[in-house]
C-alpha cells in the first residue's frame, strides 16, 4: 500500500512541465455522446502538429508540445482542463464547445490567453474592439444561419415569402445562437420560422419530427452536434422528409452523422467552412511522416473525413498565427500575448494555403484589430450516399452582412456594458 502511494505521488509530481516549447492545449472529447464528432477533430488537430514537428522540427524551429485534456463536452471538466493547462504556457485554446467557450471568455481575457473558437462560441466575439482575446474567424454561427437562408433563397429564385422554415436545435447556448439571426432574416424575407429544441444529448427526437411531419415545413435547418445529428437525419429519413430541403450547420456535416442512415441520407445538405476529402498534397506528407511512422493520434482511421480536415484547418490556422507572431516579435519562443498579436495580424491567401499543401482548403481572409471574425464565407455541401462522399455544390459565398453586423454590434455592446469593458480604439 505504501509503495502504491509512493508511486502515485511520484506519478503526480512527475508531471512537471518541460519548458521552451510552443504549447498548444487540445481540449478534446473522445468519450461521451459527442465523441463521434470530437475524435476526428482532435485527431486532425494533433496530427497536424505532429507533422510540423516531424517534418519541419516545429514552428520556426521551436518544437510544438500538444497537451490533450479530455473534457467530455462538459463545461466543468473543460474549466478543470483550462486551469490545469494554462500554467504550462498554453498559447491558444480551442475548446470545440460553445458552452466551454462561454466559460473561458472571461477567464482567458483576465489571464491574457487567446481563445480561438473557429465557427462556434460566442458570435459577437467577432467584434475585436470588445473581445480583445477572443477570435472566431473564419466564420460564425450567424454567418451560418445566413448562408442557410441564402441557399434557400437561391433555390427559390430569391423569394421565400410564405415558406415555412423549421429550426431543429440543440437546446443549449450552441443551438440557441442562430435564433436571433433567423428571426431578423425572417422579418426581412418573410418566411415563417418554427423553433424545435432538442434536449441534451439528443437521442430522443420523436416529438420534434412528429411535429415536422404534421406541420410540413418547406425547409428544416439543424443546429446539432454529436449523437443528435445521427438521430435527426435518421428521423428525417424515417418520415421521408425530402433530404435536399434539410440543411445542417457545419457541425452537422460529417460522415459519422449521415452514414448510419444509409441511403436514406442521400441528398442531405450541410454548410461547409473548409474543403472536404483527402485529395490535398499535404496528405502525402501526413501519410509519410505521421501515419506510416505510427505517430497518428487516436486510431489513425479518420484521415480525410470532414471533421478531421477541420481539425487540420484549426491547427493550420493556429500554426500560421504562431508563425506570424514569431515574425512580428522576432522571437521563436512566443508568449500567449504575442500569439494574440499574431492571430490579430493573420492573413490567409490562396498562395499561402497552396504553399502549405492545402490549396483551396478554406476561404481567403484577413483578421484585423476590429474584426476578429473574418469575412464569414461559407459554402454548401451535399451528401452522396452511393459514393459515400460529400460534394461542395456551391462556391464559398458571403452572408448577409447588413443584418449580422448590426446584431454583432448590439450583442457585443451589451457584453461590454455588462462587464464594464471600454471598447478598444482600432484604426
Amino acid at each position: 500500500m505504501k509503495k502504491l502511494l509512493t508511486m502515485a505521488t511520484v506519478a503526480v509530481l512527475g508531471a512537471s512541465p518541460v519548458l521552451a516549447d510552443l504549447v498548444f492545449p487540445s481540449l478534446s472529447y473522445r468519450t461521451g455522446p459527442y465523441a463521434a464528432n470530437g475524435i476526428p477533430f482532435a485527431d486532425g488537430y494533433a496530427d497536424y502538429f505532429t507533422l510540423l514537428n516531424e517534418r519541419d522540427g516545429g514552428i520556426g524551429g521551436q518544437p510544438v508540445r500538444l497537451i490533450e485534456c479530455e473534457t467530455g463536452y462538459n463545461t466543468e471538466k473543460g474549466v478543470e482542463c483550462y486551469e490545469s493547462t494554462k500554467g504550462e504556457g498554453s498559447l491558444v485554446y480551442q475548446p470545440l464547445s460553445t458552452g466551454i467557450t462561454y466559460q473561458l471568455i472571461p477567464k482567458a481575457s483576465a489571464d491574457g490567453i487567446p481563445v480561438h473558437s473557429m465557427g462556434y462560441g460566442r458570435t459577437s466575439a467577432a467584434n475585436g474592439k470588445v473581445f480583445e482575446w477572443i477570435f472566431n474567424y473564419p466564420a460564425n454561427y450567424w454567418n451560418g444561419a445566413s448562408h442557410a437562408i441564402n441557399h434557400i433563397l437561391d433555390v427559390n429564385g430569391g423569394d421565400v415569402s410564405g415558406k415555412k422554415v423549421a429550426l431543429v436545435y440543440h437546446n443549449s447556448a450552441y443551438g440557441k445562437e442562430p435564433i436571433r439571426t433567423l428571426e431578423e432574416l425572417s422579418a426581412k424575407h418573410g418566411y415563417d420560422l418554427t423553433l424545435l429544441p432538442v434536449d441534451h444529448p439528443g437521442q430522443e427526437q420523436k416529438s420534434q419530427w412528429l411535429q415536422i411531419r404534421r406541420e410540413k415545413p418547406d425547409y428544416v435547418i439543424m443546429w446539432g452536434w454529436g449523437v443528435m445529428n445521427q438521430v435527426a437525419i435518421q428521423e428525417a429519413a424515417n418520415i421521408r422528409f425530402p433530404m435536399e430541403n434539410f440543411i445542417g450547420i457545419w457541425w452537422s456535416a460529417s460522415e459519422n452523422d449521415v452514414l448510419p442512415a444509409g441511403d436514406g441520407a442521400d441528398g442531405y445538405k450541410a454548410l461547409a467552412m473548409n474543403n472536404t476529402g483527402s485529395s490535398f498534397p499535404i496528405y502525402e506528407d501526413l501519410n509519410k511522416y505521421v501515419v506510416d511512422a505510427g505517430k497518428a493520434a487516436g486510431a489513425g482511421d479518420q484521415l480525410g473525413t470532414v471533421l478531421y480536415n477541420r481539425g487540420l484547418y484549426a491547427a493550420m490556422l493556429a500554426a500560421e498565427a504562431a508563425k506570424k507572431a514569431q515574425e512580428i516579435h522576432g522571437v521563436g519562443d512566443i508568449t500567449p500575448a504575442q500569439m494574440r498579436d499574431g492571430m490579430e495580424a493573420l492573413e490567409i491567401t490562396a498562395a499561402s494555403m497552396e504553399a502549405l499543401g492545402l490549396p483551396d482548403f478554406g476561404p481567403e481572409f484577413a483578421v484585423s484589430c476590429a474584426n476578429h471574425g473574418g469575412p464569414g464565407l461559407g459554402a454548401v455541401q451535399q451528401w452522396d450516399a452511393s459514393a459515400e462522399k460529400w460534394e461542395l455544390i456551391s462556391e464559398f459565398g458571403p452572408s448577409d452582412a447588413d443584418v449580422i453586423n448590426k446584431l454583432i454590434e448590439e450583442d457585443s455592446a451589451a457584453y461590454a456594458a455588462e462587464n464594464n469593458i471600454t471598447p478598444r480604439d482600432c484604426n
Binding site: 479530455e70 462561454y102 466559460q103 472571461p106
Partner: protein, 358 residues
Amino acid sequence: MFYREAGDFKTSYVADNQTFPIAFDRYRYYVVLAVAIGVVPFMLNEYFASAVLIPFLIWSIIAIGLNILTGYCGQVSLGTGGFMAVGAYASYKLMTAFPDLNIFFVILASGGVTAGVGLLFGLPSLRIKGFYLAVATLAAQFFLVWLFNRVGWFYNYSASGQINAPERSVFGFNVTGALAAPEAKYLFCLAFVILLGIVARNLTRGKLGRSWMAIRDMDIAAEIIGVDPLKAKLSAFAISSFFVGVGGALFFAVYLGAVEVGEAFGINKSFLALFMIIIGGLGSIFGSFAGAAFIVLMPVLLKNVMVGGLGWPTDIAAHFEFVILGGLIIFFLIVEPHGLAALWRLAKEKLRLWPFPH
C-alpha cells in the same frame, strides 16, 4: 490511550451536550478549522482551488442538504439538480436586480427562495413515500430545468440562454467573476460551509432533528408519540432545499461563473448528490463531507495519475476513470453498506479501546 472520555470531566450541562464530547475529537476539529482557514489559503494555487477545493466545499453543502432530507428524514429526493438550479437562478436574478446587495446576502436569499420552492415540491411527501416520492421529486427536477430553459425572464432574455455572474466583492475582494482570486473564492465558500455545517449539526441534534429521525424510522409510530408529520416533513424539505439552494448559488456564482441550466443542473447532478450521501453515509454530517470528497476528488486524482503521471491517452484514462470509480463504489458498498461514515465510526471505536482491546 489518548482518545477516550475518561479524565475529561464535564462540569456543566452545556459541556455535557457539546458536539464533540471527547477532548481529542474537539482538538482535531479545531485543528481542521485552523488549517482550512489559516494554512490552506496560503498554499493554494489556482488549479487546486478551482478544480478541487471549491467544488468540494460546494458539494459538501449540497450533500449536507440532501442528507437532511434523505438521510435524517428518510424522504428520497431526485430533485437536487433542480433545486440547485433554483438557487443559481435566484442568485442571478437577485444580483442583476439589486446590484448593491452584498453577495453574501444574495446567496442566503437564494437559499431562502429555494426553501420556498422545496416546500412546494415537498407537499406530495405528505401523501406518498418511497419510490413514489422519488418520482414526484424527479418531476420537480425536470420541470425546473425546463422552466429555466423556457422562460426568458429567468435568464434576462440573453440570446444564448446562459446566465453570467457579474462581479461582486466582499470586503473589497472579488469573489465572483473572472478577476476573483482563488483564495477569496475559497474563503467565501469555506465561510458558508462552516456556518451551514454548524447549523446542520445542531439542527440534527435538537428537537427538529429527532422528529425527522422519528419520521424516518417509522412514521406511524412517530405520529403516535406526538411528532407532527406535516411539520417534520415540510421543515426537512425546506431546510434541505435551503442548503441545496445555497450550494447551487455558489456553484453558479463562485465556481462556474456562467451556467446553462440543462448541462449544469441536469439529472446527473441529482444522482451525483445521491451517490455522495450513500457512499458517505446516510444520516451523518461527516458522511456528507466524506462522500463529497470521494466523488469530487477521486476523478481529478485518477485523471492526474493516469494522464499526467503515467502518460496514458486521454480517452482510455477517461474510460478507466468510470471503471475505477464504479468499482470503488461497489467495493465500499459491499464492505461497508453504511458508507464512509460507518468506517470512520468503527475506526474511532477501535481507537477508544486501543491499545488494550480486551
